[in-house]
Subunit: 263 residues, 2 copies
Amino acid sequence: MTFPATLSGRGPKYLQIADQLRAEIQSGELSPGSRLPAETDLAGRFHVSPPTVRQALAVLRSEWLIESRHGVGTFVRENRKRQRRSRNRYGRARTDKRLLNDALEHRIVFAGRGPVPPHIAEAMGVEPGSEVVIRRRHLHDKATGQLREIGASYVPLSHAAGTYLEDATVVPKALFLCVEELSGKIYHRAQDTTVIRAAERDEPGLFNLAGGEAILHLVHTARAADDEVLEISESIWPADEVVFIDEYDIPKHGENPTSRSEI
Amino acid sequence: MTFPATLSGRGPKYLQIADQLRAEIQSGELSPGSRLPAETDLAGRFHVSPPTVRQALAVLRSEWLIESRHGVGTFVRENRKRQRRSRNRYGRARTDKRLLNDALEHRIVFAGRGPVPPHIAEAMGVEPGSEVVIRRRHLHDKATGQLREIGASYVPLSHAAGTYLEDATVVPKALFLCVEELSGKIYHRAQDTTVIRAAERDEPGLFNLAGGEAILHLVHTARAADDEVLEISESIWPADEVVFIDEYDIPKHGENPTSRSEI
DNA sequence: TAGTGGTCTAGACCACCGC
DNA sequence: CGGTGGTCTAGACCACTAG
């Protein structure tokens, strides 16, 4: 029998049940994608009331181990293939002339003028609500159609107003190369700010999350040599789908570091 | 009256209650650190049963907005002061000869030989369980005493065996300078791997978390010019306490990028 | 229609904390 | 001690999905 009907008696029942099920998941007895027994079945096997089972499942849900589909069942979460991102997006793009991940489909969901949101205005050094050119994108997994990333780019009117950046067509090359062309200025220095926060508003629905899940939110500010902001872009992922891998040279003794440390 | 007794009737009651309370928190009516009314009080005011109130509070807890203390009450979470980390820890350390954050107290909780854990062995390219010199550290907030970061460094025996790195005394300068001295090799290139995962094992207790919270886990691998691993270190934070701020130069056209992109 | 998970009730008793 | 949140029960009814 897969699920012992006995609880050892140490600690709360719902935690013991969660421990049992977690062990079965991690041992592979319950494999990714497989369905758990119905809540009423689990209640019977563990000799507890249904709400207690639900409490145990809530624990596993908060650990990102299972997900429930209303009217269908509760399933062991698939190990979603993790994306790999570098914080330095310019290195290869400058030579490859492309920035896009081949496994993702790039959909521009909005392009045009709009008010700059507060957290971007701050980084841009302008009044919140000022008009800028905004390009919003959704990146979908080509295989499954699942939304994997939400992004937006904000370019000052001075460089983007009236240009093709206001058209919702996919830019044929990396956005920063377009901005360099249009502005006549060169991207010189960047700042990336990364935070992890709880999912809010429509994000759980968009990403098909249980709710209350962690979101990774990156704001990227690119400046010209004279410190003028050329572009701010932000990217939003379900935090558990992302791995950052960064490789970089370590400054030698006496060498001027290319990154200012913020520690 | 702070808490209206009426629910608009749209959607589940527990979500409406959560929305009400969230609005009060975000408007500042319920300020950080202040106590919410007791669950039974809330049940009375909203005319629902106590379990329904608990469900609403569970939502806010998963959004990291409140925390409950058994026997005391439920409180609006303080905005914990966020740490700022740069991926490039070497820039300033090479000139300042220090790596430590002044607001944090560095406690070495273990130093000596031990088996290398699996996720480190992989990055190090050795058998899991091989012996290495391990230095484990806890970083506490000097003001509050709260644990803010767990870290560990792993140095191959070939460079650290029998040296002062096996003593649990705080190293007077940055660890990498010690390893450079002891090994006679220079840190040349680094890789940082960052993931966000659910808290596991004893982490909720150590960090005083509600459970199921997001953890940020960074593994840093430093290599010499000949690709030999000189040191691997890992850092673990409650994800909501960390902001990464990275500044870096953007490679010019035709310039060899210092970071290899992983996109 | 049958079976699933989602919402909600009205209690009970326990464990913890501060006074 | 009184008040708090934590655990648990034994139901009821609804909403969703699949066949």
